[in-house]
Symmetry: C2
Subunit: 121 residues, 2 copies
């Protein structure tokens, strides 16, 4: 199958265990990582808004997910020095590049999920 | 951020827990699901070849992953009636549509993984 996007070829088709790309792939395709990145693709969000979007995420898992994505340089966290405290999250430029590829994927899943789950029943 | 692909808008930005799309999203973004789908995007593969591509996958996890993707209608399994037994896996048409979105994502991760992991150290 031909993919028309301008992308680097995958190195000889093998996904070597223990290489950085596997670590990063796990982060960005994690259950909550995907949902957080897609939610932030629409713009800056506060913590509570992210919790609402990724329905079912626990406080602990959301904190862990955001911390990982922040450490990866994909999400920027900004704490505003106001009372009550106010913390914003947004995508970095690199995060935006990634989200541009994730959003169509998630939209595809939304479009096809009913048909797919229908096949299972 | 604007995404130029022609995709259905996500429903009001919320990812409801327990809806089919969340189940399917978990399947297609699972650790081994991604690697198997991307490997099959290049064509038909046999079991052993898939194990080699997704380095580190156990027999059990590969079997489980392929079974899930087959039940989802994304992968087609074909057993040839020969001796010794010979089983092929390939993407269905729907699986190809999905893989066309997954391949650029994985390629992006390959391109950026070193920079990202570098930020962590």
């Amino acid at each position: 199958m031909e993919v028309s996007n301008q992308v680097t070829r995958l190195p000889d088709g093998v996904f070597p265990a223990g290489c950085p790309s596997r670590v990063v792939l796990d982060h960005v395709t994690s259950k909550w990582g995907v949902l957080v990145l897609v939610a932030l693709s629409e713009g800056t969000h506060r913590w509570g808004e992210l919790r609402r979007r990724a329905e079912g995420v626990s406080e602990k898992m959301l904190a862990q997910t955001l911390k990982t994505l922040e450490r990866d340089g994909l999400v920027h966290r900004e704490a505003h020095p106001v009372i009550p405290p106010h913390v914003d999250y947004r995508l970095t430029e690199m995060g935006q590049g990634l989200a541009a590829l994730l959003v169509p994927l998630v939209a595809w899943v939304f479009d096809h999920a009913d048909a797919i789950v229908g096949e299972n029943t």
